[in-house]
């Protein structure tokens, strides 16, 4: 009897402890929600995902980086002219720009490591994904170089590659520009060969269209070349590449609406601009008005322009009701603050125009533009005026303006905000703006100024103003146009308009190989390509 119990106990115990083999321990060690090996194609999508907020109207871009950091320094957004106007409302938005770029770069470095470990046959098969990830990464890197100057690049991501903690130093931005321009040249040619294929399954930018990938690589290369071509050590290189891409038979670049490079829209997940809608929720019209206010510099240059109404609402009450008013940087902080806060019987109505609610704020159908035909047309017009290539500069200019108008008009027309749900701004009636009318308007612009470059630069600045404001800032810094009034402030760190942003604390506070930049001198170090 007792023996039976003993046997039962012993059996139970044996059973219990026999489950504890080495194998059982090892099986349970690995996180079941994670995958032990990553594939190159899925890593490419991972790279695109890591950096996709650079190219979409994300919360960070719209209510942070663009409106608070970049907008005030290139006056594409109206801001109270207070002492911190050039420092940005909250510095972490510049932190995020830096970090998002590094994050994209890290994922790319992991992809590159995995790619380099492949055998030759697999390398060949995955090459387009490697290249695709590279093009996208370079584009994010370029945007970050333009904001900060030197950034860590070559030593980035060593933890995931070697398992060791290596604090990367900053790499020289000029060297990076040069490398990127060269690399994109190689990739553009390989893409154009027609031998490479990226699956639409992995590709939320070009949907597997290799023609568009070719144009993407070439257009970004052109953007970089134009940037460095005005002055500085890479001027000659920039000019050569412009000629290579736009001269003679040239290279395929984005020319029409159909080959525009932008994020795919799928109405769900990250490709549904739900977060955008979330911002609007609970904040009645007029909330966060300082992040939506118009700039006078913009409004002045949009007179008679169909984009004026598409971009800005009229002031909806108070003494300036019905007008389109932007922040005048000549005004004192007190005046701009008072106008921002507004006046009126029922509530304080902001006396500045706000961004058109249908086009931007209450619109889930905004787009994540990467390369638009307007940009290329303006570069082409510039190259012709600068006699780098031959062609009809005016025709290119008119095309640029027309494409820009159509782009803003489409966002407004396609807005998910119905007139009924909009608090104040109805959709804009564009029926009078036929193609011919827009062309006539653009021709007038071209003809009215003998300084053709100024006209072009002003339009680049206007075109990018809200959809990708860093390109507007780049244009001002490269060309000096449009010439704007910048007030001097009482800020101790950044009293005048800066030439670049400083390295965020998120990096220098934890990376011993990157110095904290002393302000304000660092703010005023001109980038090598700047005027």
């Amino acid at each position: 009897m007792k023996f039976k119990y003993t046997v039962i106990i012993m059996l139970a115990a044996t059973l219990m402890f026999s489950q504890c083999s080495d194998e059982a321990f090892n099986d349970k060690y690995a996180d079941p929600s994670k995958v032990a090996t990553a594939s190159i194609d899925k890593m490419m999508t991972g790279v695109l995902m890591a950096g996709h907020e650079f190219v979409k109207n994300s919360y960070w871009r719209f209510f942070g980086y663009d409106s608070q950091n970049i907008g005030p320094v290139c006056q594409t957004w109206g801001s109270v002219t207070g002492p911190r106007i050039y420092e940005g409302g909250f510095s972490p938005y510049t932190d995020e720009a830096w970090i998002k770029c590094q994050k994209t770069l890290v994922q790319f470095k992991v992809l590159e490591k995995l790619y380099n470990e492949l055998d030759e046959a697999k390398k060949e098969a995955f090459k387009p994904y490697y290249y695709g990830a590279k093009v996208f990464t370079y584009q994010c890197v370029l945007q970050t170089l333009d904001a900060f100057g030197d950034i860590p690049f070559s030593e980035v991501g060593q933890l995931s590659i070697t398992g060791k903690v290596v604090y990367p130093k900053r790499d020289d931005d000029k060297a990076l520009y040069e490398m990127i321009i060269d690399d994109l040249g190689v990739i553009g040619s390989e893409f154009a060969s027609g031998n490479l294929k990226i699956s639409a399954e992995s590709d939320f930018i070009n949907d597997g269209d290799m023609g568009k990938w070719t144009k993407y690589a070439n257009s970004i290369r052109l953007r970089a070349a134009v940037r460095v071509s005005s002055q500085g050590d890479l001027k000659a290189k920039g000019e050569t590449v412009i000629k290579e891409i736009l001269g003679g038979t040239g290279k395929p670049v984005v020319r029409g609406t159909d080959d525009m490079i932008k994020l795919i829209r799928r109405g769900e997940g990250e490709f549904n601009w739900d977060r955008f809608d979330g911002i609007n929720d609970g904040l009645d019209y007029g909330g966060w008005r300082n992040l939506r206010a118009a700039s006078k510099a913009m409004i002045d240059r949009l007179q008679g322009d169909p984009r004026l109404e598409l971009i800005y609402d009229a002031v909806h009450g108070g003494p300036k009701k019905g007008q389109r008013v932007g922040v005048d940087t000549h005004d004192s902080p007190a005046v701009t603050e008072a106008l921002m806060a507004g006046t009126g019987v029922d509530n304080n109505i902001c006396q500045y125009s706000n961004l058109n609610e249908a086009t931007f704020v209450d619109n889930k159908n905004t787009e994540g533009f990467i390369v638009t035909p307007s940009e290329i047309a303006f570069y082409r017009a510039e190259a012709i005026v600068r006699t780098l290539v031959s062609g009809d500069a005016k025709a290119e200019f008119v095309k640029g303006v027309k494409e820009s108008v159509k782009l803003y008009a489409k966002m407004n027309t396609n807005s998910t905000a119905s007139d009924a749900t909009l608090a104040r701004s109805p959709k804009v009636d564009m029926s009078a703006w036929t193609d011919a009318a827009i062309e006539a308007f653009a021709s007038g612009k071209w003809d009215s100024n003998s300084n053709k470059l100024e006209v072009i630069y002003e339009q680049i600045w206007l075109h990018f103003s809200i959809i990708n404001s860093i390109q507007s800032w780049n244009t001002i810094r490269r060309t000096g146009y449009p010439a704007l009034h910048y007030p001097t402030t009482t800020s101790l760190t950044c009293p005048n308009v800066p030439h670049r942003f400083i390295v965020p604390a998120a990096e220098w506070s934890v990376n011993p190989n990157i110095d904290r930049e002393e302000t304000p001198t660092a703010y005023y170090q001109k980038l090598f390509w700047a005027k």
Binding site: F25, Q102, Q107, V110, E268
Partner: protein
């Protein structure tokens, strides 16, 4: 061996035969002899329900209400066994007597004679060479605490309890001897009847139940410890030091809480009934000033408001009305004057204070009912206690309810003389409807801090329209335009994010938990026992979240909102151990105990969650099929395996000297292969010097023990934390891999704690005075820190064994009975503990670690650091710039210039000392019991207080508002409202030189300007509040307070009714009591809120208050009856 089996078998047969014969005998030999008597306690009071059994038989009776019994015995040689719960059993040989009166000795007077130690091994306290705090059952149930953990406040030296507000369903955090980990788990291991069960952390911001609305998890979660019902607990042992807990290895660094369930003692049938009714009333809520109503800060006033004193004008139906509020909820408007103003409901009402506590309208009085019936039966071969507990609670939060059923069976069966099986089964079922919602939107959101003119009751009524949608402001699209707000309500955030979800949304949870164990033990030969144990702790959770449709689909087809979310989760622990125990006297003086054993535990989590995406396609249809877009899903999967082999060896000499060593070798699946085996040794010794020096010490020195121990324990990383692998996710159909931003570490080791401890225990004057003091000193090396890295390195953080901590401290417990007469007794209990913590080392090259900080915008105006050479938890913030020791005032005079170049330490969040003072006064059948607990030192951050200054609702914000509150008079030149135009005036001036309005809310900040001259600039005080108390800016010290307090935690008055009243109904014992919990603070340094208004179980989350639920004050009534 063979022979032995035979012998045992024969023995068994014999025993069986005897039983049969005896049963027969008891029939045939009826009325051989009758014995009567009375059973009393040590003070002579009758004990009702004591069991009197003829030893070795099933013949037994229980005493009546007067303690009397009458029993028939078969022969004179019989022995009576008298037992009663809470008292030491006694045997009395009949020896021809017919009257046998017995006085039972209370177990507590010899408290701790036997303690439960690691692995459920019961030990004579004398043998224990380390500190163990024991809390008896009756100290857990006096004041109807919802769970045993929250009944431990102030009762054990060095044990800090922090119960999250919200009642039955909110987590309780316990910390033992300070903290052992900077970022890891600090909760003790919970062991019920020898079995490790689920406890865990909650409300630390990383919960998976994170929901999209709000800043954090919106509802207050619970943890495993709160499921254990105090009514079923017989005693709690708290093992504190590393030597005490070493047998639990890598889970023991934070101490171990051993819970022993109530068992039946004695024979016969006993029934206990208990009903406890408690009322919970919200308490310690923010009070608001009632002198000034809503309106803009002076500097934000337009021309009209300046002249009107802060009123604004609004139009309604073509008429212009005087009104209040500007565009936010700021309360710097005009003084209440009883004039008529247009309110946001579109009606005109008198401008006067509506309330001084707007929160009160948001909560209701809570009512908790707790019924418990326990049936115990003792027989010769089996002892069982079954109890059923039913809890029904009406929480303080409106629209929520709670019910709990708890079935508990504890017993044993003696299969053979030397083969016994213990078993327990505890089944808990909870129905939770709408857990308490965080109130951060009302406490720390500018869009939700209500003032005295904010009619919360009205807002509550208007939040949900008659058609069931969320209300809107006039002009917005709605199906019920007549119900809309006349103008934008100033606290829309509170409505959208607090009132709407608690009124319209529903969350239903059904939790089932079964904790069960079977433990056979076999006494192989005398002194040698084999014991096995198999146990399970199974939890299954079903959660449904139903977010109501916010807007009519008819009007808002693309954004209907609403959500359905369902979650099923199981958490299973399977545990088994096997132990061979040897306990024998080798000689008369020397005794030996030795144990060897094996242990294994398998934990697994399986969970699925489905959620609609993009709103509900059909209004308020709560099913996954209602999803407008592809529903989202999550999977939760975790497996963990831990095995260990252990051995202990103890030697004693002359009942005075004891020495014990233990060793445990452990293997875990959470660490990588080749790196997953660790050894944890310990040693302890005690010397009962009163035994050795009997002749030297005075007679009144009853007991004295010196103890010394040393041990090594660990704190293992979470499952999968070490594993390095790729994330794979899908977004809108695109599948992608990424390297996670937090990197694991294949070489990670458990944090290891080395601790030594020294203790002295003494009792004097027949145990009427006693004390226990312990000193401990520990070092915790290999702290696992999720070390921050710049993103450029490859990940934003990585697990590293880089830190080192040190703690030392003293725990003191005093017990005394200053007065003891037949009728009156006064007991006193006091405990006090302090712990000093020091961060010894962090990652190489870093001298501080930035811990998570409260949401403070910008680049983190304030954060908590663990600094090398300092206790963890230093608060760092920017403070004003100084010049010659004076604060520097900004040019416009409205603020101090904050020096943002360096943060300075403005305090530390660790308490200096904690403790409790308790006392019982009993007179005859009446007993008054109370307990204070205290915390000394340690800061807490409470931004609600600070923000309410910016909002002008804080009573302190009245300072300088007018002449009576110390304000200065001034005017704006030409009524042009800018700092530059401020000119000094006299309060008596009717107007300025150009007819300007005279204002009386001026302040001149004490300080100097940048040039070092005395500041003389007058500014409106609201500007100063705006600049110095605001979110993400200003002087953060305005929101940082010393969190010392002493609270009257428990008080109860109980009365044992005279037996004459109830004896006729067969009742043996009947007592009633009234009690209170959290009644008041003796002192508290933090203003506005409860000192314990935090809900996280992590120390860092306990360092700031960011809007948990309301805290409460409780009063109750309890009735206990035994049959």
């Amino acid at each position: 061996m063979r022979q032995k089996f035979k012998l045992f078998s024969g023995n068994m047969l014999h025993r069986l035969t005897m039983t049969v014969i005896m049963c027969g005998c008891s029939v045939f030999l009826y009325a051989q002899g009758n014995i009567t008597g009375k059973v009393t306690d040590g003070a002579g009071a009758p004990l009702t329900g004591a069991s009197v059994v003829v030893k070795g038989t099933t013949n037994g009776v229980v005493t009546d209400a007067n303690g009397n019994y009458s029993i028939t015995v078969s022969d004179n040689s019989a022995t009576l066994e008298i037992s009663f719960i809470g008292y030491l059993s006694q045997d009395a040989a009949v020896g021809g007597r017919t009257v046998i009166n017995i006085s039972l000795e209370e177990e507590t007077t010899s408290l701790g004679e036997v303690v439960v130690t690691a692995l459920g091994i019961k030990k004579d306290t004398r043998k224990v060479g380390y500190a163990v705090s024991t809390i008896d059952s009756k100290d857990l149930v006096k004041v109807g605490a919802p769970n045993f953990a929250s009944a431990l406040y102030g009762k054990a030296a060095g044990v800090r309890i922090q119960a999250a507000p919200g009642g039955n369903t909110s987590a309780v955090s316990m910390t033992v001897r300070g903290l052992s980990s900077i970022t890891g788990n600090n909760q003790p291991l919970l062991v019920v009847d020898g079995v490790p069960v689920r406890n865990g952390n909650a409300n630390n911001g990383e919960d998976e139940n994170k929901t999209s609305r709000g800043w954090d998890n919106d509802r207050i979660q619970g943890n495993g410890i709160i499921d254990i019902n105090p009514e079923d607990v017989e005693s709690i042992s708290i093992l504190k030091g590393a030597s005490a807990t070493a047998l639990y290895g890598s889970e023991a660094a934070n101490g171990v809480i051993l819970v022993t369930s109530k068992r039946n003692r004695g024979q016969g049938v006993k029934v206990d009934f208990n009903a406890t009714l408690t009322g919970n009333f919200v308490a310690y809520l923010p009070q608001v000033q009632t002198e000034y109503g809503p309106g803009a800060k002076t500097l934000d006033r337009g021309a009209y408001e300046l002249v009107s004193g802060g009123f604004v004008q609004r139009s309604q139906d073509g008429k212009i009305y005087k009104s209040v509020y500007k565009d936010d909820a700021v309360n710097f408007g005009p003084k209440y004057d009883g004039s008529e103003v247009l309110y946001w409901d579109g009606k005109v009402r008198k401008y006067e204070a509506i309330t001084n506590s707007p929160w009160e309208d948001v909560f209701r009085a809570g009512f908790n009912q707790n019924y418990n019936i326990a049936i115990a039966h003792g027989g010769e071969r089996s002892n069982n206690r079954f109890s059923y507990i039913y809890v029904d609670d009406t929480p303080n939060q409106i629209n929520s309810s709670y019910a709990k059923h708890n079935f508990n069976l504890v017993g044993n069966i003696k299969i053979l003389k030397n083969l016994n099986i213990d078993y327990t089964a505890n089944y808990i079922r909870q129905n939770i409807h709408n857990r308490p919602y965080h109130i951060n939107w009302m406490l720390t959101s500018y869009g939700g801090i209500a003032g005295s003119f904010d009619d919360m009751a009205l807002l509550q009524d208007m939040t949900v329209t008659s058609m069931g949608y969320r209300n809107v402001t006039k002009g917005s699209l709605t199906l019920t335009p007549n119900e809309s707000f006349a103008y934008n309500i100033p606290f829309s955030a509170a409505m959208n994010n607090y009132l709407w979800p608690i009124l319209a949304d529903n969350q239903d949870e059904i939790n089932n938990r079964l904790i069960s164990s079977v433990a056979p033990s076999w006494d192989i030969v005398e002194g040698l026992t084999l014991r096995g144990r198999v146990s399970t702790d199974l939890t299954s959770e079903n959660i449904e979240r139903k977010r109501a449709t916010v807007k009519p689909i008819l009007l808002y087809p693309t954004e209907p909102e609403g959500e359905y979310d369902m979650q099923k989760k199981s958490y299973e622990i399977y545990y088994g151990d096997l132990m061979l125990m040897f306990d024998r006297n080798l000689t008369e003086q020397i005794a030996l105990t030795a144990n060897i054993g094996l242990q294994a535990r398998n934990e697994s989590v399986r969970g699925t969650r489905l959620r609609t995406e993009g709103g509900l396609s059909t209004e308020n249809w709560f099913h996954i099929n209602a999803s407008r877009r592809t529903p989202r899903y999550w999977q939760d999967k975790m497996d963990l395996l831990k095995t260990a082999a252990f051995a202990t060896l103890g030697v004693s000499y002359a009942n005075a000297l004891y020495l014990e060593g233990t060793i445990r070798r452990e293997k875990t699946s959470t660490l990588s292969k080749g790196n997953n085996t660790y050894v944890y040794p310990s040693v302890n010794a005690s010397w009962i010097y009163t035994e050795t020096m009997q002749n030297i010490l005075p007679e009144w020195y009853n007991y004295g023990k010196l103890r010394l121990s040393y041990g090594v324990v660990g704190n293992a990383p979470d499952a999968y934390a070490a594993n390095v692998a790729y994330d794979q996710n899908m977004n809108a159909g695109f599948i992608y891999n990424q390297l996670p931003s937090s990197y694991g570490n294949e070489n990670i080791r458990p944090e290891t704690k080395y601790e030594y401890e020294l203790g002295l225990e003494s009792r004097f004057f027949k145990n009427r005075l006693g004390f226990e003091v312990s000193y401990y000193n520990n070092r915790i090396v290999d702290q696992i820190l999720n070390t921050s890295l710049p993103q450029s390195v490859g990940a934003t953080s990585m697990l590293m064994n880089v830190g080192e901590l040190k703690n030392y401290g003293v725990e003191l417990t005093l017990n005394g009975t200053p007065i003891q007469t037949t009728d009156f007794r006064w007991d006193l209990r006091f405990n006090y503990a302090f712990n000093r913590n020091e961060v010894v080392k962090l990652n190489d090259g870093t001298d501080f670690m930035r811990n998570e900080g409260p949401d403070e915008g910008g680049n983190g105006m304030v954060h908590v650091r663990s600094v090398v050479g300092r206790p963890m938890g230093d608060i760092y913030t920017y403070i004003p710039q100084t010049l010659n020791g004076r604060d520097v005032v900004a040019d416009d005079g409205s603020a101090y210039i904050i020096n943002k170049s360096d943060r300075v330490c403005v305090g530390n969040v660790m308490p200096d000392a904690i403790g409790g003072i308790g006392s019982t006064l009993s007179y005859k059948a009446l007993a008054l019991d109370f307990l204070f607990d205290f915390r000394l030192g340690g800061k807490i951050m409470s931004w609600g207080h600070k923000y309410s200054m910016v909002m002008g609702t804080n009573p302190e914000s009245l300072n300088h508002r007018d002449e009576a509150h110390g304000g200065l008079a001034y005017y704006f030149l030409h009524n042009n409202v800018t700092y530059d135009n401020i000119r000094q005036a006299q309060h008596s001036d009717a107007q300025g030189p150009n007819g300007e309005t005279i204002l009386h809310d001026g302040i001149v900040l004490d300080g100097v300007n940048a040039a070092g001259q005395e500041n003389t600039k007058i500014v409106p005080v609201s500007s100063y509040y705006q600049n110095m108390y605001q979110w993400g800016n200003g002087d953060m010290r305005h929101g940082i307070f010393d969190n010392s307090y002493m609270k009257l935690r428990e008080v109860s008055l109980s009365y044992q009714l005279p037996a004459s009243i109830y004896s006729k109904i067969g009742c043996r014992n009947l007592s009633v009591s009234v009690f209170g919990r959290n009644l008041f603070y003796v002192f508290k340094n933090m203003p506005m809120l409860d000192a314990e208004a935090t809900d996280g179980t992590s120390w860092i989350r306990q360092s700031w208050i960011n809007g948990t639920s309301a805290t409460t004050r409780t009063v109750g009534l309890s009735l206990r009856a035994s049959f």
